[in-house]
């Protein structure tokens, strides 16, 4: 009970503390977007021959004729009403666009993270249990390689091997085959939606589409996760309380699992949070390579087209995601480590 309460207090404090950071991020991107070269009004006018009057009208419509601080206040009041403006390229409200695309990015990131954690934690632990053994060297080598191959290269090579040469992967475009029927939109996560409706054929097709991009992402984050697991397991195994556990005659597995592993996973929790929020937006490149309709490629297209609103919306969403993920990590950590509650 006491632990729960203190976790609650910490979450509350964290929420309050994150407000200035969020505001800062919004203002920063807003200003950055205003420095972008080119006049979006010209860009979005009906054509190259659009008259001065039309451009002026668009400027007024977008509020571009007001001073920057006034635009900023307007933007804030819009955010307060849950509006993030309208995308000029898709013609839709940014909120709607993001809502449509976020599940794709989330699904991809989550699958990749599960793959990466599923491989990294066992590998890191095994390597730590036998430092300098052949297995340890293999793990360290794989980790070293993993971070060296840029995702856009490994993604393309995976496509070449599994799609072009072996022919076992589907056409690497999007989340689902263009001719296949998509499932009813329940969660937005295709794998979940197919599973809920019991459409296992569709599930397999969606899984086939997601596996290559997910592996590409997983490969890249495998290294930091495995490295951290290995390092923290090594540190824990060398610590005094492990010696104590051995000195009272506990069996080897009990020493490793009960006393070693739980302690070793604490730093892994923290780094997983960082890895997740980074992956969510930073894998613009993977989304581009696999034509994945996620938020990253959406922001990229908007950015290249001088389209303010989607970029600002995307950045705000990333900041929110960062806050949420951090809260989750805090709660998890608070449950896993009794020490944090004292501060």
């Amino acid at each position: 009970m006491r632990a729960l309460k203190s976790v609650g207090v910490r979450v509350g404090r964290r929420l309050v503390a994150s407000v200035p950071a969020l505001l800062g991020v919004v203002v920063f991107t807003f200003v950055l977007m205003r420095v972008l070269p080119g006049d979006p009004a010209v860009f979005f006018a009906s054509g190259p021959n659009a008259g001065q009057a039309e451009i002026q009208m668009i400027r007024e419509q977008m509020g571009l004729d007001r001073p920057v601080h006034e635009q900023l206040i307007r933007y804030f009041s819009e955010i307060g009403r849950g509006q993030l403006g309208r995308s000029m390229t898709t013609g839709q409200a940014v909120v709607a666009d993001l809502r449509e695309r976020l599940p794709a990015s989330l699904e991809l990131t989550l699958v990749a993270l599960i793959l990466a954690l599923g491989a990294a934690i066992p590998l890191g632990i095994l390597a730590a249990l036998r430092p300098n053994s052949p297995l340890d060297h293999v793990v360290r080598f794989v980790c070293s390689m993993g971070v060296c191959v840029p995702t856009f290269v490994s993604g393309l090579l995976l496509i070449y091997v599994f799609y072009v040469v072996l022919g076992i992967a589907p056409d690497p475009t999007g989340r689902i085959d263009i001719f296949a029927a998509s499932p009813p939109d329940i969660t937005g996560f295709l794998l979940l939606d197919f599973a809920i409706t019991g459409d296992w054929e569709g599930w397999r097709a969606a899984a086939g589409q997601i596996i290559l991009p997910a592996c590409t992402m997983a490969l890249f984050v495998l290294a930091p996760l495995a490295r951290m697991t290995r390092a923290s397991m090594l540190a824990v195994l060398g610590s005094d309380f492990i010696r104590t556990a051995r000195s009272i005659g506990l069996s080897r597995w009990k020493v490793i699992v009960v006393h070693g592993l739980r302690n070793a996973l604490l730093p892994v929790i923290t780094i997983t949070g960082i890895v997740f929020s980074t992956m969510l937006g930073a894998n613009v490149l993977v989304e581009k390579v696999f034509s994945w309709p996620g938020v990253g490629s959406y922001a990229l297209d908007a950015l290249l087209g001088s389209d303010y609103a989607p970029v600002q919306g995307f950045v705000l969403m990333m900041a929110l995601a960062f806050v949420v993920v951090n809260l989750l990590i805090d709660v998890l950590y608070g449950i896993a480590d009794p020490r944090v509650n004292v501060e």
């Binding site: 070269p37 840029p150 393309l156 090579l157 072009v164 490295r227 290995r230 900041a319």
Partner: protein
């Protein structure tokens, strides 16, 4: 100093991988300098009849859609890719080390708020930030350097802060204070030299990351423009042909990127071993 060298030699003997990485890094620098004279073909001149040739005795890494020799382009690109990474890392290292050490030394609310800011920045999709910066500042190579330097900065600040924080209250820092040293001197002459070795490791690891970042930016069409040979652009151009089976357009620049980054990363790990075997991960 000779003791350090001896120790380095000892580590290198027992750690051939690091020796190999050091050799590789040296080789890369040499290629970057002498590439124009080493390249067997002209890297820019197109030769359409010879387009999309697979690797052969004449064209070791094949030719691209304009018939240019991929191998020559790879060699020539080394200079630009390394230059971008080295200057970006250099800028962020110099700024980050100084900002970080001063914050760590002064402590208090300044240190706390810088620490929080850095944490927020680091958890942010930095690549997207770099993209936005290049888009805002203009699509030029200098701006790639600036953007890459900017997104590297938080790592150096954080690192320097942490390193200074653990030393700030050690006896020798307080001894320097009671020896009448000014705060400026303590940071610049006492603390910085002590954290430099650890920072060197960070630099080496970061170089690889900076190369990947710059290549990623060019891959999506920001920064370096064709026909300049650059590894990221070469991959981007090759991507169109991958489903048609012309793998060499992606694989060789990819390999160049990978080997370069690998060299610097292994070198960083090796440096860490030389400095402190306990930090080995």
């Amino acid at each position: 100093m000779s003791a350090t060298l001896k120790h380095a030699a000892w580590v290198l003997r027992g750690n051939p991988v690091t020796a190999l990485a050091a050799t590789g890094a040296t080789l890369l620098v040499l290629i970057a300098i002498f590439a124009p004279w080493l390249a067997p073909h002209d890297p820019i001149l197109s030769n359409v009849p010879m387009a999309l040739q697979p690797p052969s005795a004449t064209y070791w890494a094949g030719t691209d859609q304009l018939g240019r020799d991929v191998f020559s382009r790879l060699l020539v690109a080394t200079r630009l890719d390394l230059a971008i990474a080295v200057s970006a890392v250099g800028i962020s290292f110099a700024a980050g080390a100084v900002i970080g050490s001063f914050c760590g030394y002064i402590g208090g609310w300044l240190d706390k708020s810088v620490g929080r800011l850095v944490d927020v920045l680091m958890a942010f999709p930095l690549f997207v930030l770099a993209m936005a910066m290049v888009a805002a500042l203009g699509n030029r190579v200098e701006n790639i350097v600036i953007a890459t330097a900017f997104i590297n900065l938080p790592f150096y600040i954080r690192f320097a802060r942490a390193e200074v924080n653990v030393r700030r209250n050690l006896g020798w820092v307080e001894a320097a204070r009671s020896g009448g040293e000014s705060h400026m001197t303590i940071v610049l002459r006492y603390l910085l030299p002590n954290i430099l070795p650890a920072m060197a490791v960070q630099i080496s690891l970061n170089l690889g990351w900076a190369i990947l970042n710059a290549a990623g930016l060019s891959f999506i069409g920001l920064g370096v423009q064709p026909p300049t040979p650059e590894w990221g652009i070469m991959v981007a151009e090759g991507a169109r042909f991958i489903t048609a089976g012309q793998w060499w357009l992606v694989a060789y620049p990819g390999l160049a990127l990978m080997l370069t980054v690998l060299c610097f990363n292994l070198l960083g790990d090796g440096l860490r071993d030389i400095l402190d075997p306990r930090m080995r991960t």
